[in-house]
Assembly symmetry: C2
């Protein structure tokens, strides 16, 4: 296949990356996409860096075998701990979600105080702090893990008393830092935007990396001369490591459209 | 090694089975134990039966290789979907957590209306309903999945407003069934006993299978003539599939004592 016509490969620990895929398709509707959700081993956010790196490698190996032209690591946890290792392991461009989010946050902040919320593993890795400080070392960064947000979103509880109360309890730890920008450092969190905004205050800018990631992919493809030029319908394939049933049911809320052409495969174990 | 002196093997998807191990050690303090928590792939409750069966086989293979005399599947999800398959695969007694819990519930009910709460996979499998109906077909069984209970307990939020509100929202679906007995069909739930009892009403009997499981193991060892008779300190070993750090930190709340002699191993993938 002509290199330009190859699809974009995207992996995530499960369904969260569908919020990123959605933006990619919106921004680059003519590009083919192959999405892999490692649903047999989700969530990554509670696991050790070694385990996340092993899983990320196995996902990368699967997508590489599908002849992709660019790899998107659409998971904050995997991007936080394994992006450099993945970049060194394959000869195509690799895009994570941390750097685009960090750039957008630095652009948005006025008072140079940025909050980051994410999984335990993402926050512990310090990846956002490093990425932000690399752009502007004077920015203060406050990280906070919110472990219940992922299960809440997966349960479909994205508004109402319970989620508001939990959000208040978590964000309490960051409210007195006078941040003016808050990075939603987990692909599940955009579904909680409304309640997060109402709790932290509407004057705090929320950064959802998905839009930035799509822009970064577009720029990378343009620079490398890799934009697809075919007129036929682009490829839309989904792979999961557990049965597709739950992925489709929960995932369509994230993706905002029907999920078709889906298959269960084995990666690694 | 003399067959009697071999340890009891226990596996769970993660840390929940420590509530069962705790009861086993209380009931059978002279028996050695090897505990395996599949922390690299926890939680099982959101996965398909095929995946849970595969993981259970891999855990069983590891424990079998450690020369155990009896296997305890201390995870409701794994017991629900894979117990028969495991029983057929190894030549030693295998004890799950469903049947002991079902027996205790049938003994406890007066009005023959029993509620079961558990993970999505456990409730969907219908395992408790089958086990209860096999003892007394006239009992009415009401199953209800409570997906947020496991992450709540792991976060350490076992009392207070948030957990009470979530418990109310879940148990609403079972409150008008006039049950007099409620099975805590997940090894994490005993840590929520207080709030569950206050929401469902103190006249509803809560069944925690751990105590029943320990009794069943004791009876099985006695009947088979397999009780340990050595006087030295019994073996206490722990294995996990992800880094031990988080297991120790969260697990000691479940186990109620220090977790030592722990090692990370690989099972299956």
């Amino acid at each position: 296949m002509n290199k330009k016509d190859r699809p974009i490969g995207v992996f995530d620990s499960g369904i969260g990356g569908l919020t990123v895929l959605k933006e990619i398709i919106k921004e680059l509707p003519d590009e083919g996409t192959i999405y892999l959700g490692d649903t047999a081993r989700v969530p990554y956010g509670i696991r050790s860096p070694e385990t996340v790196i092993r899983y990320s490698f196995e996902n990368t190996r699967f997508l590489s075998s599908r002849d992709i032209k660019i790899l998107v690591v659409a998971c904050n946890t995997a991007s936080s701990v394994s992006l450099d290792a993945i970049k060194n392991s394959i000869p195509i461009p690799v895009i994570g979600v941390i750097e685009p989010g960090a750039k957008a946050a630095v652009r948005a902040t006025r008072n140079k105080k940025i909050g980051i919320i994410g999984t335990e593993a993402t926050i512990k890795s310090g990846s956002y702090t490093r990425a932000i400080k690399a752009i502007d070392k004077d920015v203060e960064v406050f990280g906070l893990s919110c472990p219940l947000f992922v299960p809440l979103v997966e349960e479909g509880w994205t508004e109402g008393d319970v989620v508001t109360m939990i959000t208040k309890r978590y964000l309490e730890g960051i409210k007195d830092k006078c941040i003016d920008t808050l990075v939603l450092g987990c692909t599940h969190y955009p579904l909680l935007k409304k309640v997060i905004s109402s709790v932290i205050g509407e004057d705090v800018r929320l950064i959802d990396s998905a839009v930035e990631v799509a822009q970064e992919i577009k720029a990378t493809l343009e620079i490398a001369g890799l934009k697809r030029e075919q007129e036929e319908m682009p490829l839309r394939e989904f792979y999961v490591t557990d049965s597709p049933e739950r992925f489709i049911k929960v995932g369509e809320r994230f993706f905002g459209q029907k999920i078709e052409h889906i298959e269960k495969i084995a990666v690694g174990g």
